[in-house]
């Protein structure tokens, strides 16, 4: 008895047995990978799928209703493997390889990224593992945040060929808590249990291992696609490797763990659901707090915008409300252009914070170019406001409009090289 998957391939529906499905999926993934790199054409893949579907329909009959491993293997034989295509299209491949060699520029790596692929791109440039760059970036965060944003804006992104290097992924499928130890074991080719023992022992020495574990958890991606899973264990994605990989995987599943391993892993297996649940709750709480703060912030800015826009565009004479005479005159002293800048600036602040909070809370991505454009506008208006602010404050001081607590104790002085300065009156 075998499990089957129902798949839609080339507008037809097939039932495929589990092992056959795995192979078929890997085959199609590898083809997709190859032709996207080569021609950037999704049509080739849909043609492939159509043809495979035709082949499958001829294999299905009234007394054989599902596709098995033999059928898939036959179809792959008919369609050909990556090596066959490479023979025919090797000229294209050569071109690409040459491009790779000469093209040693710094790019953002869009194929392996956590935020914008800056760290991964730098790692690709220096041919080191992205995790190293990420941790370095994280350690010096306030300064590197600026560097990161500058790189984000200034460097174009590029899809790197993930087959060409070994990347540290988390192996959640075979892991126990977050798959960090198993991922490390795949990367370093050391038995996972040794790494787990090291992590456990290090817990009793100030918890350095825990910190390291958490750092790795945050800075690595989980291996999800088959390509990533193969990459994780140092396989190149091609057809013969795919078959080896599957064989190895099924063998691993069958081999039972020995008693020592079982005893050792038992507390972790027990703890794993608890830790995962705690993590989920933690993320939920963090998101809730973020939601509260961001909504309070947005409401605050909106109220500010409302007050500012209604008051600053009105000319209010002292007769209307003598009690607030002082503060209204203060608003009257704000020139119209400055009021316009501020209103636009506040509006932009609201829009940007809404977009950011949507992204953080629901992972809803907006158009990144649009977002970048907004950020640029926001910075531009911030600069405009900064430039015009000193003059306005000095002007207000001349008119004796500043609030008493400032007027009594402080005075503003304009120096051409230092900008505006606040001096304490003696």
């Amino acid at each position: 008895m075998k499990k089957t998957f129902t798949i839609s391939l080339g507008h037809s529906i097939f039932n495929v047995e589990e092992d056959a499905y795995e192979i078929l999926k890997m085959y199609l993934d590898s083809i997709k990978n190859y032709f996207q790199k080569m021609e950037n054409d999704s049509e080739i893949i849909s043609d492939f799928e159509l043809r495979i579907a035709e082949n499958f329909s001829s294999k299905v009959s009234s007394n054989k209703s599902c596709i098995d491993l033999k059928d898939v293997k036959q179809v792959i034989e008919i369609m050909g493997s990556l090596d066959d295509f490479k023979e025919i299209y090797n000229d294209v491949e050569y071109e690409q390889e040459e491009e790779k060699k000469t093209d040693n520029k710094l790019y953002r790596d869009s194929s392996n990224r956590i935020i914008a692929g800056v760290c991964s791109g730098i790692a690709e440039y220096f041919k080191i593992d992205p995790i190293i760059v990420r941790v370095l970036f994280f350690i010096a965060v306030p300064l590197n945040l600026i560097v990161y944003i500058i790189f984000w804006i200034g460097i174009p992104s590029k899809d790197f060929d993930p087959d060409l290097r070994k990347i540290l992924y988390r192996d959640k499928e075979n892991g126990i808590i977050g798959g960090v130890a198993k991922g490390l074991s795949n990367y370093l080719k050391i038995d996972a249990n040794i790494i787990r023992v090291v992590f456990t022992i290090s817990l009793f020495f100030g918890g350095a291992g825990l910190l390291f574990y958490l750092l790795l958890w945050f800075f690595t991606k989980e291996a999800k696609t088959i390509g990533e899973k193969m990459n994780m264990s140092g396989f190149n994605v091609n057809l013969s490797n795919i078959e080896d990989f599957i064989k190895k995987k099924t063998k691993n599943l069958n081999s039972p763990e020995n008693t020592i391993t079982k005893v050792f892993l038992f507390p972790f297996r027990l703890l794993a659901p608890l830790i995962n649940a705690l993590l989920k709750i933690g993320i939920f709480v963090l998101k809730t707090i973020f939601f509260m703060f961001s909504s309070i912030f947005i409401v605050f800015i909106s109220v500010l915008l409302l007050i500012f826009s209604t008051i600053s565009f009105k000319d209010i004479s002292p007769e209307q409300d003598p009690e607030f005479y002082g503060s209204f005159e203060l608003f009257n002293a704000i020139p119209d252009y400055f009021a316009i800048f501020s209103v636009i600036f506040l509006l932009l602040t609201i829009i940007i914070s809404v977009i950011i909070s949507f992204y953080v809370l629901f992972k809803k991505k907006s158009n990144s170019y649009f977002f970048l454009f907004l950020i640029f506008l926001w910075i531009a208006f911030l600069i405009l406001i900064m430039i015009s602010l000193p003059n306005i404050i000095l002007n207000m001081q001349d008119l004796n409009l500043l609030p008493n607590w400032i007027n009594g104790n402080y005075s503003f002085i304009w120096k051409w090289n230092d900008g505006i300065m606040l001096n304490k009156n003696n």
Binding site: H11, D41, L50, R51, D84, E87
Partner: protein, 110 residues
């Protein structure tokens, strides 16, 4: 340079020419093209044809339209364009040139 390699190189060079020739006769769908190529032992695996078809289409040598089929989903039928026909004529001329010069060479050897 092995015989196998030689065969691959020749096939590779001629594949585009053969596909254009097949398409120029009548409207055909991918499986028919593959069938003919297989019969004349130009290709070994089917997968090699699809990227080529897509490339030919990109150069505007061939076009396709969808047609309902009696069995299964609609099929893509390929036909040659005027531009492709012109290209094919040039290819035929250069092919017969090469063919005759190779034949001449072979005769000299005998």
């Amino acid at each position: 340079m092995s015989t196998e390699n030689f065969k691959i190189q020749i096939r590779k060079g001629l594949l585009e020419f053969c596909v254009l020739q097949i398409v120029s006769n009548k409207e055909v769908y991918a499986s028919e093209i593959i069938e003919e190529l297989k019969n004349s032992e130009i290709i070994v695996v089917e997968g090699t044809v699809y990227p080529l078809l897509s490339r030919l289409k990109k150069f505007n040598y061939i076009q396709h339209n969808w047609k309902e089929s009696t069995q299964g989903p609609p099929r893509k039928y390929y036909s040659i364009t005027d531009f492709g026909l012109e290209h094919l004529k040039e290819l035929i001329v250069s092919w017969s040139d090469i063919n005759s010069s190779v034949k001449k060479l072979l005769k000299i050897k005998k």
